[in-house]
């Protein structure tokens, strides 16, 4: 049991007239879907589907920063999960780089309690690999896993020591949980502010080279092969990284990978605006990198689209670019952004996007699989592809507004979200 939320009665409802797409279950057609007491009880063939209306397995986001404990001014369990519900998600995993760090049973236990009280959707918590994210000593992984840790990560920081990485991978076997890695060689990324390349050369911003990511992926895939353990690479950004994951997979390493909507949609050229909502870690890369990420997503090298939803206080982003923290929000805009900038342009197929946002991450993190089939718990997202909406600071459920999409019109709105048998969002 790694997902937590309040125990309440399930809902009953019927969703009519949508095109139902569940790639994993082999379903694609017009159906009326009936849910009774939270369980799908019938799929009845219907006539022509309503234009633009799509019903799919709800999304799963394995990479969210809920900022609790410590930065409740930026996000809370309640606001972050409400944002996720509005974005079509039925489950999320929260990152442990909080203050204090989620590195002990006490901190994890308090979070689980908060989720039991006020999470809008089923919520899981990752615990850290190393105590205090210092990269020196392992956390008590077995105890944390027993209590409910969904996996382990030092996200925000790399595990610099190869020796500790080896121990962590070995020991994660006893905990029975996946390690998810933020890959960055700090001696290469240094004080990097953006991708190293033509744009950083022109702007004078310190460069964070693509190889700072890929050399660590290569190292950790070698260690994983040696100790025969799986690993997951978070927020891939560079072409070399996709190649490294693909090559490791080809030689039998159990490595999975995720990519964020902003790395799929944007390149470092957008940093020329000096908009602090274009500052991410890892940074936005060049067009060749973006193309490699898209190809990795298409060919299955990358199994998850993960938002890396990273709320920041307004005053911390209202600074010169160089002084601003890394990260952007994403839970409420992920599907619409990808639909607008990648599906409508023909760069990605809708079916592929729906799979990589739902069963892909669920399978990778061994979470309950959202399926549209009789007898399954209802985890559903109803989408209106024809609905356009303007992204404004006032429209977010998230407590923070540091979105790279402010002021833009997106196509595709989440009409309804059903999570574990309960309606958690209805527009």
């Amino acid at each position: 049991m790694t997902l937590f939320w309040p125990d309440r009665p399930a809902d009953s409802l019927t969703l009519r007239g949508a095109r139902v797409i569940d790639v994993a279950a082999g379903v694609d057609g017009a159906f009326d879907v009936t849910v009774e007491d939270g369980v799908i009880t019938s799929l009845e063939r219907a006539g022509e589907p309503a234009p633009g209306l799509v019903l799919a397995p709800a999304f799963v986001d394995p990479h969210v920063h809920l900022r609790v404990p410590g930065r409740e001014d930026e996000e809370t369990v309640a606001t972050g999960t409400a944002a996720a519900a509005a974005g079509g998600y039925c489950a999320i995993l929260a990152m442990p780089n909080t203050d204090p760090v989620v590195d002990s049973a006490a901190v994890l236990g308090a979070l689980i309690e908060q989720a039991h009280e006020g999470a809008a959707i089923p919520t899981g918590f990752m615990a850290s690999i190393s105590k205090g994210l210092r990269g020196e000593e392992l956390t008590e992984m077995v105890e944390l896993a027993r209590l409910g840790a969904a996996g382990f990560t030092d996200d925000g920081h790399p595990v610099v020591s190869a020796g500790l990485m080896q121990r962590a991978l070995q020991y994660s076997g006893a905990a029975g949980r996946l390690l998810a890695l933020h890959e960055e060689d700090p001696s290469l990324s240094r004080d990097g502010q953006m991708n190293e390349g033509a744009v950083s050369a022109a702007l004078g911003l310190a460069g964070w080279p693509s190889i700072a990511e890929s050399v660590m992926i290569e190292r950790d895939c070698s260690i994983a092969a040696y100790v025969q353990r799986p690993l997951h690479i978070m927020h891939l950004s560079a072409r070399e990284s996709v190649a490294a994951v693909r090559a490791a997979q080809a030689r039998g390493v159990a490595v999975t990978a995720e990519v964020s909507p902003h790395h799929l949609c944007l390149t470092d050229d957008t940093v020329r605006t000096l908009d602090t909502n274009r500052k991410m870690n890892p940074p936005l890369r060049a067009e060749g990198d973006r193309q490699a990420l898209l190809e990795g997503l298409r060919d299955g090298t990358i199994t998850c689209i993960a938002t890396d939803h990273a709320p920041h206080a307004r005053h911390e982003k209202e600074t010169p670019f160089e002084a601003a923290p890394f990260g952007v929000t994403g839970l409420e805009t992920s599907f619409a952004a990808i639909n607008t900038f990648l599906v409508e342009t023909g760069e990605l197929a809708l079916e592929l996007v729906l799979e990589r946002m739902s069963s892909g991450p669920a399978r990778t993190f061994d979470l309950p699989m959202p399926r549209i089939a009789v007898g399954e718990r209802a985890n559903l997202v109803l989408i209106d592809l024809d609905a356009s909406w303007l992204v404004t600071e006032h429209g977010f459920r998230s407590r923070s507004t540091n979105s790279w999409l402010l002021g833009q019109t997106l196509n595709g709105a989440i009409v309804k979200t059903v999570a574990d048998g309960r309606v958690v969002h209805a527009a």
Binding site: A202, L203, G204, L205, P320, F341, W404
Partner: protein, 331 residues
């Protein structure tokens, strides 16, 4: 991918045709006409400075605030004097001794100063993007006097002015920029400005101080100091001591840097001119005898700094490309 455009900072550039509020945040705010206009105004101003009474009434009643978050001798003093010579009121704020010491954010400092209704805020800041931020929260015209390693547009303009005074032309000129390009806002602005006026730039320096991808700005790159020989102008960049710090050493030693890339008399042709934005490290990037030689235009650059900054302030407030622009009268 469809074009993704947002303009979170509603910044109007100096090159724009008839905007309500123009700024000089970087060389990309200028087109060739704007450069010609500014250099022409600077020439007019230079003539007026030969007179006994050097003050012009053009900006009487205007307020120019110099907001400096980094140390500066040349830039701050010349902006201050430039505003005074145009009869504007001036006010200088430095980060030390102000509320910045108490942790006030740049936004709040800018909002505070905005209440004095300044016509121009000249800002120097260690962080790239600071001038854009001030432009987005005040109604003043913003002049970037150096932001991080990004831009220093008035330095590039005064360099163009100096080159044209000395050599009579800019079009087709070949300028070698020597040294630490990686950390130089002066180099970035100068490369852009030279390209804009039809001159050619060759960057020369150690490979570790050449930014990856810099050639996409339209310049050539070399690691061989002998390549300065082909240039009309040798522009020497400051080699900063902190680039040599342990763990962040870009070159093994200043000794080796001076030996391999220092601009010495032996490495120059007789007709070449030498420039440096200052402050100099004599004996490191530039030999002392070169700095003091007839080929050196370093003191001309300082004089040019005053007239070019006067031209920029005048252009923002009274000149410019619009119909109601008034050409500067010095009579």
């Amino acid at each position: 991918m469809s074009e993704i455009t947002t303009a979170p900072l509603r910044v109007v550039r100096l090159g724009d045709p008839a905007p309500p509020r123009r700024h000089l945040l970087g060389i990309s705010d200028l087109d060739r006409n704007a450069v010609e206009r500014l250099l022409g105004t600077a020439t007019t101003i230079a003539r007026s400075l030969d007179r006994e009474v050097k003050k012009l009434p053009a900006l009487r009643g205007r307020l120019v605030i110099n907001l400096f978050y980094e140390s500066s001798t040349r830039t701050l003093s010349s902006f201050d004097l430039a505003a005074k010579r145009l009869s504007a009121d001036t006010m200088a704020l430095r980060s030390s001794g102000s509320s910045v010491d108490k942790g006030e954010s740049l936004k709040d400092t800018a909002l505070t100063l905005a209440e004095y209704d300044p016509d121009v805020i000249v800002i120097r800041h260690p962080h790239i993007g600071a001038p854009e931020l001030v432009a987005s929260v005040t109604h003043a015209h913003i002049v970037n006097a150096g932001d991080g390693k990004h831009q220093h547009p008035t330095q590039a303009l005064l360099d163009l002015y100096t080159m044209r005074e000395a050599l009579g032309r800019l079009d087709g000129l070949h300028v070698a920029i020597v040294g630490d390009v990686l950390h130089s806002r002066v180099a970035r602005s100068l490369i852009e400005a030279l390209t804009l006026v039809g001159a050619r730039a060759t960057l020369v320096g150690p490979p570790t101080l050449m930014p990856r991808g810099i050639e996409s700005m339209g310049c050539e790159v070399s690691t061989d100091i002998a390549d300065i020989e082909a240039a009309d102008v040798v522009y020497v960049l400051r080699m900063q001591q902190e680039r040599m710090n342990a763990g962040a050493a870009y070159v093994p030693s200043l000794r080796e840097y001076a030996a391999e890339w220092g601009v010495t008399a032996r490495r120059l042709r007789p007709s070449q001119i030498v420039m440096h934005p200052g402050p100099m490290n004599r004996g490191v990037e530039i030999a002392p005898d070169v700095a003091d030689s007839a080929a050196s235009l370093i003191s001309d650059q300082v004089r040019a700094g005053l007239v070019v900054r006067m031209a920029v302030l005048y252009d923002l407030l009274a000149g410019g490309p619009g119909d109601d622009a008034r050409p500067l009268e010095v009579a």
